[in-house]
C-alpha cells in the first residue's frame, strides 16, 4: 500500500485537484485560463523533452503545435461532414499522429547536428513551415485560418462539449495522461540515454548509443506531445491560423520552460502556469506586457538560470534539516527590494508608454490607482529612486541571501552527517 501511494499518490492528488479546480474558480475567465494552462503544460513539457532532457535548444517547436492543431481541425471537420461515430475525446490523436509524422520528417533533417547548429536549423525550418503555411491556402486557410465546430461531432454519454467546463475537463484529462506519459518516459532507459546524450554525446556514443538516433527519437516523441497540445488548442478555440505555428508561439514556449526551470520535470509545469497567468493578467492591465515578459526572461537568464523550480529545489536540504529559518529573512528582504525595483521600473515604463505610444491620451494617467502627470518631474524622480535604490538593495540582499544559504547548507549537511553517525 505504501509503495502504491508513493508511486501513484502524486497523480491521484493531481487528478483530484484538476477535478476540483472548477469548483473553486468557476468564472468564465478562470475556466478559459485553466484550459489554456492545461494545453500549455503539455506543450512546455514536450519542449523540455528536447531542451531539458536531451539538451537540444529548438527555436521552431511551435511547428508541431500548429500542425497538430491544423490536422485536428481538419479531422474534426471531416468527422462532422461524414457523420462518423468518432467522439471528440479521441480527436487529439489526430494531432498526435501529425506531430509524430512531422517530428520524424523534420527531425531527420534537423537532428543531424546538435548544439548551436541544431538551434539554427530548427529556426530555419520553423520559418520555412510558417511561410509555407501562408502559401498553401487550401490547407492552412491563409491569413484568417481554418474554423471548426466541436459540437458538430457525435456526443459521448450525452456530453457535446459545448460549454467551456466540459472542454476544461477534456483538456485536464488529456493533460494528466500526457504528463504521466512524459514522466514515465523520463524513467525509462531511453530517458536516461537522452540525459547521457545531453551531458556527453561522445561518451554516450562509446557505450554503444548513436547520439543522432537518440536525438531523433526524442525529437519525434516531443513532436507527438506538442501535436496533442496543438489539437487541444484547436478544440478549445475552434480555430487555427498560421500564427499558431510561427516564431511568436515558439518563443512563448521557450519563455515558459526557461522561467519554470529546465533542470527538473516540474519546472515547465510551473512555468506554463505562471506565464499563462501573467499573460492573462498583464495583458488586461498594460499593453506593454510583452516588454515585461522580455525583461522577466532576461532577468531569469542572468540571475536565476536554473529557473523557479531549480530555486525551490535548492531549498530542499535546508527544509529537511530544519535550517530554513536561517535564510528566510534574507529572502524576504530580497523579495521586498525586488518588488520595489519592479515598481520603479514599471512606473517608468508606463509613463514612457503614455508619453510615446499613447501621446494622444494626454499626460494624465494613473499608476496602481494613483493619479499622476507623466510630464512632471516628481513621478520620474520617484521612479528613478525606486529603481536605483531598490536595485542596489536587491543586489545587496541577493548577495547576503547567497551567503546565508551557503552557511545554512553547510550547517544542514553537518546535521545530516551527525544524524547518520548517531544512527
Amino acid at each position: 500500500m505504501k509503495n502504491f501511494l508513493s508511486t501513484f499518490g502524486v497523480w491521484i492528488v493531481a487528478a483530484i485537484v484538476a477535478a476540483c479546480l472548477p469548483q473553486l474558480f468557476g468564472s468564465g475567465l478562470a475556466l478559459t485560463s485553466m484550459s489554456l494552462m492545461g494545453m500549455m503544460i503539455i506543450f512546455s513539457l514536450s519542449y523540455n523533452m528536447l531542451l531539458g532532457q536531451t539538451g537540444l535548444l529548438s527555436f521552431g517547436h511551435a511547428v508541431f503545435f500548429g500542425l497538430g492543431g491544423f490536422f485536428c481541425v481538419h479531422a474534426m471537420n471531416d468527422v462532422a461532414a461524414g457523420k462518423l461515430p468518432v467522439p471528440l475525446i479521441v480527436v487529439p490523436l489526430a494531432g498526435a499522429a501529425a506531430g509524430l509524422v512531422f517530428g520524424a520528417l523534420l527531425g531527420w533533417v534537423s537532428t543531424r547536428r546538435g548544439g548551436t547548429a541544431f538551434s539554427m536549423i530548427t529556426l530555419g525550418i520553423g520559418e520555412l513551415v510558417a511561410s509555407s503555411a501562408l502559401i498553401l491556402r487550401h490547407f492552412f486557410g491563409g491569413e484568417e485560418g481554418v474554423t471548426t465546430n466541436r459540437t458538430d461531432l457525435a456526443p459521448l454519454f450525452g456530453l457535446n462539449f459545448g460549454p467551456q467546463l466540459q472542454v476544461y475537463y477534456l483538456i485536464a484529462a488529456w493533460c494528466l495522461v500526457s504528463v504521466a506519459a512524459m514522466y514515465a518516459l523520463t524513467r525509462t532507459p531511453f530517458g536516461r540515454i537522452c540525459n547521457a546524450v545531453r551531458d556527453n554525446p561522445e561518451r554516450a556514443a562509446f557505450i554503444g548509443y548513436d547520439p543522432q538516433a537518440v536525438r531523433f527519437l526524442s525529437f519525434t516523441l516531443s513532436g507527438l506531445f506538442a501535436g496533442i497540445a496543438g489539437a487541444l488548442a484547436a478544440i478549445n478555440f475552434e480555430i487555427m491560423n498560421a500564427g499558431q505555428l510561427g516564431a511568436a508561439q515558439s518563443g512563448a514556449v521557450i519563455l515558459m520552460v526557461f522561467i519554470g526551470g529546465v533542470g527538473t520535470f516540474a519546472g515547465p509545469i510551473i512555468g506554463a502556469i505562471l506565464v499563462t497567468y501573467l499573460q492573462v493578467a498583464l495583458s488586461d492591465v498594460t499593453d506593454a506586457w510583452q516588454l515585461y515578459f522580455g525583461l522577466l526572461f532576461i532577468g531569469m537568464v542572468m540571475f536565476v538560470p536554473e529557473g523557479i523550480a531549480g530555486l525551490l529545489l535548492r531549498q530542499q536540504p535546508l527544509l529537511r534539516e530544519r535550517q530554513l529559518h536561517r535564510v528566510v529573512p534574507f529572502y524576504a528582504l530580497a523579495l521586498l527590494a525586488g518588488l520595489v525595483t519592479i515598481a520603479g521600473l514599471s512606473l517608468a515604463i508606463e509613463m514612457a508608454n503614455r508619453l510615446t505610444a499613447h501621446a494622444g491620451d494626454g499626460p494624465k494617467m494613473a499608476f496602481l490607482h494613483v493619479p499622476l502627470n507623466a510630464t512632471s518631474v516628481l513621478p520620474w524622480a520617484i521612479a528613478a529612486v525606486l529603481l536605483v535604490g531598490g536595485g542596489w538593495l536587491f543586489l545587496r540582499a541577493a548577495r547576503a541571501s547567497r551567503n546565508a544559504y551557503d552557511t545554512a547548507l553547510a550547517a544542514s549537511l553537518a546535521a545530516a552527517l551527525a544524524h547518520r553517525s548517531n544512527a
Partner: protein
Amino acid sequence: MLEILFISTLNGVLYGMLLFLMASGLTVIFSMMGVLNFAHASFYMLGAFFGFEISRRIGFWPGLVVAPLLVGAIGMAIERYGLRRVHRHGHVAELLFTFGLTFVIQEGVEMVWGKLPVDYRVPPSLDFPAFTAFSTNYPAFKMFELLTAIAIFAVLLLVVRRTRIGLIVQAALTHPGMVGMLGHNVDRIFMLVFGVGAGLAAVAGVIAGPALVTQSNMAGLLGPILFVVVVVGGLGSLGGAFLASLLIGLLQTFAVASNASLAGLLGPLSPSAKQQVFLADIWNVTVAQVAPILPYLLLVLILIFRPRGLMGRRES
C-alpha cells in the same frame, strides 16, 4: 529580358552586400565567443530607427555616423554587463539572453516609434536617378548603398588582414587563452568586436532604412535570413558568409522578378480536376510568391548535402 537581368543583378548584389554587412559581424562574433547573437538583426533595426530620428532632426549624413556609433556603444554595454555575466552559465544561456534581448528591443522600439512604418526618406542630395539603363531609372541612393557596403567591406578586409589589431582579433578567434598570455586583454577585444559588429549592423540599418520599410518588425523579418546566411556560408567563415550573402541576395531578387509557376511551365500536363483540388496551391503558386521561403529551402538542402556549409571547416 536583358533589362530585368541587369536590374535584378544589381539589386541582388546590393541586397547581398547589405546582408553581408550584418552577417560578417554575426559570424565573427560567433567564431570568437561561440555565441550566436540573436539580437544582431535588432541592432540593424535600432540603426534604422536612430538614423531616422537623427535625419529628421539634423540630417541624414550625421545620422550615418552617429547612429552606428550609438548602437555600437549599446552593443558594447550589452556585452560588458549582460553577455559576460551570462557567459558562466553556458552557451544555451547566452543564446537565450540574446533571444530575450530581441523581445525587449522590439517592444522598446514599438513603444517609442509605434508599430506603423516611419517616414524615413532618402536624403535630397541623393534623390535623383544615377543612370538610365534601357528604360529604367536607377536611383542614386541605391548606388550609394552599394558603394558604401563595398567600401566598408574593403576596409574590414584591410583591417583584418593587414593591421596589428586584425592580427590580434584573428588570433583571439582560435587561441583566446594564448592571446591573453601574451598580454592582450581578451575580454576587451571581445567587447570591441561585439561593438563593431553591432555598429556594422547599424550602418546597414541606416542605409537600408530609406530604401526598404523602417518598421518595428524589420528585425523579425531579417533575423532568420541572417542565420540562414551564416549557416549556408559555414559557421564562422567570413568568406563563406560573403558568398552566401550574395547567393541569397541574388536568389531572392531573381525569384521576386520571376512569374513562372508549375501550371505555366507544365501547362498541358496539369493534373486532373480531382487532384487539382489538393494540388491547386502548389500548382498555381508563382516563383515570386515562393521567394520568401527560398532561403530556408536552401538551408535545408545545404544541411542535407553539405552540413558544414559552403566554406565551413567545422562539423559542429
